[in-house]
């Protein structure tokens, strides 16, 4: 349920009358006006109040999976008077396809789906977007810092030694008591949030070898060293997945499948459905009067006025928007302190075919303790071309003339000389994206129990919050983003309904 706005909505008789008019004419009026392109050019700033024709039902901020899912839901509810404002010149948020020659693609951002992620599965089915299994067949190659290597076929899995097994068993056991939708309500929340994953692991006395493995695995998961990751946070993620194995796994786990045409394609299809209601390259600078019936959303060239605003961007990114009046202290503090230190970086080398498969390799390379954490086969389903993607340290050279051959030589050591004959190279460092800033960042010890988390989802005035961080399950995944979009749309619709009701009283 949407919370009451700070300013009561029905105290102003003038507003009530206008709203009664709107309620009487239904949404048709607003739909007609907002549906035309003229709205974009309409600079309503400074216009006197009362120009109802210019008031939208909803402004959605952010054209990632969350915002676009919300927009689709609004349309399905018959609320067509909305716009989606996107700061970037593209849709998809933290999903992004490199467009390769021949109409192929390789994902530079979030890309996997797996069992239990029913929201994104359903959405893809409704949109007629297919999925296919992540390629797992063959030997993986492991490389030590001195260049020595080892290869094995582990059935496309990573397996664990007995010491690590104990750690994982304990994690699974503890996670059962941590509800992912509100980890801070767990019976031992304060205790579990007081320590990092590293501190949790310490007493198990892992040998150096296991420590290295764990470090690599967790860096891949959280893009940062596990000294910074709250145990409670890690447990909340294990909780929503069902187990550590399901969270981190490929076959049977959250990385089991890929999206046909690449993960960004979901957003592209959603965007096509909302047409010119989508405004690209339109960063929102400030939001005023969010505590009144009509909110003003200010971009560089226009002001959009709406009854509800869906903030479909990360909490850290919300902090880049100026709010007037100030947001409640708790929400302000949440945005200001929300961790945003997961500058993931992914590269792609493109080959005429996935040659490594012929020699029995799955295209996986683990550079243990090195800066190329994990390279993997990201070829299209039919294998008509070969793609090797890699998660690398952002610290690696950002000069493609240096980086591309450096990585190719590493691949050649592992998979053979053919790795030097790549036709394309792509590099995406999410830390350099001003409108993403970071991949989904892990939460640090103490954050979940800081008392700020209650402000994560609670609507304030006419503002509702979306984005994968706000999901109740599968936070950090595409599935969480879709879920959050559905919830935000419902909250906005509820807000619109209660405004109309108040106006009729």
């Amino acid at each position: 349920m949407k919370s009451k706005p700070i300013n009561e909505r029905s105290t102003d008789a003038g507003i009530s009358r206008r709203q009664m008019l709107l309620a009487a004419t239904g949404t048709a009026l607003a739909t007609t006006v907002a549906g035309t392109a003229s709205l974009a050019a309409n600079k309503v700033m400074g216009k006197p109040e009362g120009a109802d024709a210019n008031v939208l039902d909803v402004v959605v901020i952010g054209a990632g999976l969350a915002g676009l899912t919300a927009a689709r839901d609004l349309m399905q509810a018959g609320r067509n008077a909305f716009v989606v404002l996107e700061a970037n010149d593209r849709v998809g948020g933290r999903t992004l396809n490199h467009k390769l020659a021949g109409g192929h693609y390789s994902e530079a951002g979030g890309q996997w789906v797996g069992p239990g992620q029913t929201a994104v599965y359903d959405l893809c089915r409704e949109l007629n977007i297919g999925m296919f299994p992540t390629y797992l067949k063959g030997k993986s190659v492991y490389r030590a810092a001195d260049g020595s290597m080892y290869a094995e076929d582990a059935g496309g899995t990573f397996s664990v030694g007995p010491e690590l097994e104990k750690v994982i068993e304990k994690l699974n056991e503890l996670a059962a008591e941590v509800p992912s939708s509100a980890p801070w309500t767990a019976p031992r929340a304060a205790e579990l949030d007081a320590i990092s994953l590293a501190e949790f692991v310490k007493p198990y006395g892992l040998n150096p070898l296991d420590t290295l493995s764990l470090d690599l695995g967790l860096r891949l998961t959280d893009t940062i060293h596990y000294q910074e990751v709250s145990l409670l946070y890690a447990l909340s993620r294990i909780n929503y997945a069902g187990s550590y194995e399901q969270l981190e796994g490929f076959a049977g786990g959250a990385q089991e499948q890929r999206i046909e045409n690449g993960s960004q394609y979901i957003s592209e299809v959603l965007a096509a459905g909302i047409g010119d209601r989508l405004r690209l390259s339109t960063p929102v600078r400030s939001i005023t009067e969010w505590d009144s019936d009509v909110v003003s959303v200010h971009t560089d060239n226009s002001v959009f006025r709406a009854r509800e605003v869906i903030m479909a961007i990360s909490p850290a990114l919300c902090n880049k928007v100026a709010f007037e009046p100030d947001l409640p202290k708790k929400r302000q503090a949440l945005q200001q302190t929300w961790p945003a230190f997961a500058p993931g970086r992914k590269t792609a080398h493109v080959y005429s075919r996935p040659f490594w498969r012929d020699a029995g390799y799955n295209g996986w390379l683990f550079d243990i303790g090195g800066e190329v954490m994990w390279a993997y086969d990201n070829s299209p389903e039919d294998g008509s071309i070969g793609v090797i993607n890699a998660f690398i340290y952002p610290a690696m050279s950002n000069d493609p003339a240096v980086l591309a051959p450096q990585l190719a030589h590493l691949y050649a050591e592992a998979f053979g000389e053919a790795a030097l004959d790549y036709s394309e190279f792509h590099d995406q460092d999410w830390g350099e994206e001003p409108w993403c800033m970071s991949c989904v960042s892990p939460l640090t010890p103490g954050f979940l129990t800081s008392g700020l988390m209650e402000a994560l989802r609670a609507p304030i005035g006419s503002l509702v919050w979306a984005g994968t961080e706000t999901a109740q399950i599968w936070q950090t995944y595409m599935d969480g983003a879709v879920r959050s979009g559905h919830r935000a749309a419902l909250e906005a619709l509820s807000g619109l309904a209660s405004q109309a009701q108040e106006a009729c009283l």
Binding site: A151, S159, P162, G217, H225, Q227, Q255, A340
Partner: protein
């Protein structure tokens, strides 16, 4: 073999079982248990050599100083020993301890803003900040690249730097001193971003010197200065 071991292998855990386990015969056991034969590659790969290497590597990691271990949180962007190859993330090796302390504290108290650093520094204890600053100050900076210095942009930047008197604070070799940053060998992109931030006021130095100096810089100046300093 405990049932959970089978489950772990059948599903997937993103932590690696490294080849050291083969010696323990576990891999074969697990492989058989789940009806799959796991085979070590016999070709150019040498499992034994690899195991020794990884063990040594793990031992080296465990034996690192507490400061070096703390720095593991930063290595992802700033590179090993603070010598990032990327020119986008600042190279911290050999920065003056005073400058490092000042900046880490500025991120913590909000006087310097950066999405990544602001949230990361908040979880560091004061003594950890001290430890990191000392550790990085002691690391040797990256070696200079003479080829870069031979460019026209670097030459123009050198003249501009001398005219501006950058060396007065940053040192004769732009090696940094006291609370003033080392500029020599810093990344080109990082330098251009910072100079631009000083110019537009989004970064402010405590003494206000940089804001004043940067106000008079053109984009070309910023580019040339950055080429010069990054080449040193």
């Amino acid at each position: 073999m405990k049932p959970s071991g089978v489950k772990l292998l059948r599903t997937t855990a993103i932590t690696l079982r490294l080849c050291g386990r083969i010696a323990m015969g576990l891999l074969l056991l697990w492989g058989v248990t789940v009806g799959r034969t796991a085979v070590a590659d016999a070709g150019e790969f040498d499992a034994e050599k690899f195991t020794v290497a990884i063990d040594a590597q793990g031992g080296e990691l465990a034996a690192r100083s507490p400061a070096a271990q703390l720095y593991q949180d930063c290595v992802y962007c700033h590179g090993g020993q603070g010598r990032a190859e990327s020119s986008y993330y600042p190279r911290l090796a050999g920065q003056p301890v005073g400058y490092l302390l000042q900046q880490l504290r500025a991120f913590r108290d909000g006087t310097r803003q950066n999405a990544i650093m602001s949230s990361l520094v908040k979880i560091l204890a004061t003594e950890e900040i001290d430890t990191l600053a000392s550790y990085l100050a002691e690391q040797a900076p990256r070696a200079a690249d003479p080829k870069l210095l031979a460019t026209a942009a670097a030459a123009t930047g050198k003249i501009r730097a001398e005219a501006l008197g950058c060396a007065a604070c940053h040192g004769q070799a732009y090696q940094g001193q006291n609370n003033y940053a080392r500029l020599a060998g810093q990344g080109y992109e990082y330098l251009t971003i910072q100079l631009t931030a000083f110019r537009d006021g989004s970064r402010v130095d405590p003494a206000g010197i940089m804001s004043g100096l940067a106000a008079g810089l053109s984009n070309a100046d910023i580019g040339n200065l950055s080429r010069y300093f990054s080449a040193l």
